[in-house]
Amino acid sequence: MKFLVNPSKFNEMADYLFRPLLILSIILFAIGLLFSFYLSPDDYQQGSTVRIMYVHVPSAWLALLTYAIMTLYSILALAFRIPFGFIFNTAVAPIGAVFTLICIISGSLWGKPMWGTWWVWDARLTSVAILFIIYLIIIFMNLSFENRVVREKVVAIFILIGSVNLPIVKFSVDWWNTLHQPATISKLSKPNIDPSMMTPLIIMTFAFILIGIAIAILRIKTEIISRKSYLS
């Protein structure tokens, strides 16, 4: 597991993994899109718009997951002085921002026919919007500091403070009575979703995870190389 904290080990592993990951994610995307557009039934209430869910839900999960992993790496980097954490944070923040943006856009595309409006000031939507702004601030911070040592540590501190938003996003549907529907799939109880809809959702989630990892590998490798050229 050393490749998760060591840049040179990560490089070796990345060369080994990148191509299979990319191919696998493309195949999964093809299958998943096929399933979600043609091989899954319409919802009896939402009709055909339910298919937006197959993009919306995986991207929302991944937006949260990316931030959680960034928080973990910030703790590693600040407390245990593992510089790979800083590299990871710089590289991965835009990916998380894009996932959040996909989540927001697909959500409001779904909201227009279902709720009759693009945007509602509901706890879930607002907290996800704040998550997006936090991602943006992280990216801007990465762009606007001149001193690298200060920049990466300040960004790590900011990520740690901003992580208070994660539980708010996750539990907002349980804590407040909101328009957004509560989670249908949770670990503790049996999922109340039909298997015919479950299959494309799971396939799409894995496709998103794999494409996310593939892009992250590319970006982390670029970041490592740019640091090396900066040093010499």
Partner: protein
């Protein structure tokens, strides 16, 4: 008192200087010489425990500096190359605040003579922002005298001073050394100040 052993510092994984050895005992003056960007300020900051040294260690009174930090800070005055006097306030206010904040045991008569020798006694009610650069620099030395500590750490104290003031500085340094004090200062040239140790960076 202060011993620096095999100190090396890396910033952004670039070696700035390596294997600096330095020992400072009461009555000593050490000069750090070097070109711009050779790491004089960095070394002074490392001595003040603001920077983590990559290799090597610093000792104060026989203990590691980190373990003995409070005592070290009670005995040291640092003057950076910025003007630390508050620009919005008059010289009088500045002196009053310093005197109270440092809990200095210098009395008013001593301060007055110091002001007279520095030729600042006519500007007492002037705001620091209106003074010239050399005069604010002199005000920094007044702080040095008021803090009344054993170890002086000075960053480029001689830049922007005229010859009379440099002569005055020499006098002050000798006085301080005769009172068992010790000084580290950085400069790119030495205008004839008697030093016991010279370190080239």
């Amino acid at each position: 008192m202060l011993i620096v052993k095999d100190l090396s510092i890396e910033r952004l994984e670039k070696r700035i200087f390596e294997n600096i050895n330095l020992s400072l005992s009461p009555g000593n003056i050490t000069i750090l010489k070097g070109k711009n960007g050779s790491g004089k300020t960095t070394l002074l900051k490392a001595i003040l425990n603001l920077l983590e040294p990559s290799f090597g260690s610093i000792y104060w009174k026989g203990k590691l500096l980190k373990k003995n930090l409070y005592d070290f800070y009670n005995n040291v005055t640092y003057i950076a190359d910025t003007t630390s006097s508050l620009r919005k306030l008059t010289i009088k206010d500045n002196i009053y605040i310093w005197k109270k904040f440092f809990i200095s045991n210098i009395n008013d008569a001593q301060i007055e003579t110091a002001l007279k020798t520095l030729k600042l006694d006519n500007y007492l009610n002037k705001k620091v922002g209106t003074l010239s650069f050399g005069e604010t620099k002199k005000l920094e030395f007044l702080r040095l005298i008021m803090e009344n500590k054993k170890v002086w750490i000075l960053d480029e104290p001689l830049s922007n001073l005229d010859e009379d003031s440099i002569e005055l500085m020499k006098q002050t340094f000798e006085d301080h050394c005769s009172k068992e004090g010790s000084i580290i200062f950085s400069s790119h040239q030495n205008p004839g100040i008697y030093v016991t140790e010279e370190i080239n960076l």
